[in-house]
Amino acid sequence: MHIDARELRSGSVIEGDICIVGAGAAGLSIALEWINSPHKIILLEGGGFEYDEKVQDLYDGKTTGQHYFPLRSARLHYFGGTTGHWAGYCSTMDEIDFQKRDWVPYSGWPITRKDLDPFYARAQENVELGPYEYNLDYWQKKDPDLIPLPLDKNVVWNKIWQFSPPTRFGPKYRKRIEDAKNIQLYTYANLTDIISNENVSAVKQVTVKNHAGKEHTVHAKYFILACGAIQNARILLASNKQAPQGLGNDQGLVGRFFMEHLEIKSGELWLDRPNSMKLYMMDFGRTKMRSELAISAEKQREFKILNGTVSLSPLATARNTRPIIDVWTGKDPRKDIVDLYQNFRKSDHAKPPAGASPIDKAFQLFTRVEQAPNPSSRITLDTEKDSLGMPRSILNWILTPLEKKSIRKIDELIGQQAGLAGVARVKLLEYLWDENDYTWPSFTGGGWHHMGTTRMSEDSKAGVVDADCRVHGIANLYVAGSSCFVTAAAPNPTLTLIALSIRLSDHLKGKLKRH
C-alpha cells in the first residue's frame, strides 16, 4: 500500500512492527524480504516517485579535504534511491577483506566472507545479475574466447565482475511494494529525528516531516536506518535530544571512517602484438561480465598494500575521456549523469581506426583501490540547517599515503608480471613515478561509494553497530547499508550492502519469531 505523507493530517501516528527508513537499494531489499509475512512493515521514503528539487536539496552539504563530488548530487533522494543513477558494476569482496591486516589500521570485520556467501547469492537476484559465479573457469567454459593474459596467478589474478542491467529499484520494485498488503510505503516522509527512551537504550519513535508542513510520528518494534552512509550518520548525529552527542555515538565514532574507492587512471599497458582482450572489455548495457586484474592476498600481505583491482580499456579511447571528478561538478544530478554519459560517448568518437598504430594494442590501467579506514575522514554536522530543520552534513574526505603506495605497487606488480610473461610493458602515470611523493593529482576521484560511517564491531568501543548491524546500546535500532562496512575492499559496494541488508532482515525474522 502507498500513502503520500503530504496528504495525511499533520500529527498522524503511524504504527508497525518494523520501520524501514529509506527506499533505496538497502531499504527496498529488506522490504522485499517481508512481503506476505504476518508482520506490518512501514517503509518511509523521504522523496516521492519522481525527482523533486526541494527534496533533493536536503542532501546539500559542504566538503573539505580531498576534492569531492558535490554532496547534493552524489545521491538521489526519491523512491529507488541512488539506483536511479548507479552503473550496476558488481563483484564480491575477498576473504582477505574481512580479515585483520596489521598493515591496514582499523581493519578486520566481525564476520567473514563465508558468513556473507548465502546472502550474496540472494543479493544477485535483486540486481538481476547472472549466476552466483565469480570464478573465471566457469565463464571460460561458457565462452572460450574469454582468454586471460598469461600472468602468474599467484601474483596477479582475474577478478570477475558482473553487470546489473543496471536495475533501477524504483520502477522495478514499485508495484510489488505497492501491492504488498503488509507493507505501508509512505512517500514524502523524511525522517528528521529519532526519539529514544530516557536512558537511551531503545528507540521510542521517529519524527517525519515534509515540505507540505506536515509532521508525523512513527512507532515500531524495530527501526532500520537505510538512507545511505552520509545520511545514516547525519541522522544519528542530529538525533541528539536524549544523547547530546547523537545516538549510538558514545564513543564519538558516528560519521568517522568515511571511505570511498579511489578510482583513478594509473598507467598504460602496451602489448606488442594483438591479443584477445574480450575478457577485459566492457560495453555498457550489453556486457554481462568481465575481469579486472587483482593482486593475490599473499602479495598484498608481502607488500603491505590495500586491495584493489585494475580495469583495462583501450587507451586511444580512454585518453580522450575527461576525469569524472571534472565532469560530475554540478548540483543537479540529472544534468551530471547526462554529462557523464556524453563524456564517455565523446571519447568513443575520438577513437582512431583500429590497427593504425601501436596505441591500438595499448590499454589504460584504471585502478580502483579501497581506502584505508581513517577516523579523520568523516561526516560532521554543520550549523546550517536544511529546509526541514536538520543540520546539513560536512564531509571531510581524507586520504593516507597507503592508498597511493598501494596503487603504485599494484600497477608495478602487473608491470612486472606482464614483462615476465613477455606480453606487454606497463608505463605508470607521472604522479606515481616518485615513490616518496604522496600528493594526489587533480583528477583523483571516487566512485560515488560512501562507506564506513557507522562501522561494524563486536566491541562497542570500536564500532557503532554490532555484527547484526544493531546500534550498540540501543535495543531496537539497526543500520542497513555500506555505512556498516569496516573496510571498503575493491568492489563497488552495492552488491555487498544488499547482501548485508538481507542478512539483517533474516536476523530480524529470527527475532520476531522468537517473540
Binding site: 602496451w270 615476465l420 606487454a424 610493458r425 606497463v426 608505463k427 605508470l428
Partner: protein
Amino acid sequence: MHRKSFINISFMGLAAMAIPLLDCAGRNREIKKSLVPPAFLSRICDAKTIRGIGVAYTSRFPVQAREDLLMDLLLADEAGQEPARPSGETVTASFLEKKIQNDFTTGNTVVMNGWILSVTEAQQAALFSIMTS
C-alpha cells in the same frame, strides 16, 4: 742489428698488431649494434621514447653513462661477471631475451620515465641513447 732493419721489423710488427685491433674494434661495433635498441620496447614505442628512457637511466646511474661499460654490463652473464661475447645478432638477441626474462623473475627491474622495465632493457635504452646522440 742495423738500425734500419730494426725500424722495418718494428713497423711490420706494429702493422701485424694493428690488423687484429682494427678487427676487434669492428667486431665490437657489430656487437654494440646488436645490443640496441631494446627489442620489446622498439615494438611498442618510437626511438625518441627509448632515448628518453636511456637518458633517464644514465642520469640516475651516471657512472654507467659509458658505451664500453654498458656493453660489458649487457654482455655479462647472469652472475654479472665475465662478459660473454656472443657471435651473431641472433645469439645476442636470445642472450638478452633470457637476461630480461631473468630480470623480471628476480625483480631486477627499474622504473624509468614511468616504464616498468628489466634493468637489462633499461641499459639497452641507455646504450641506444648514447650511440644515437
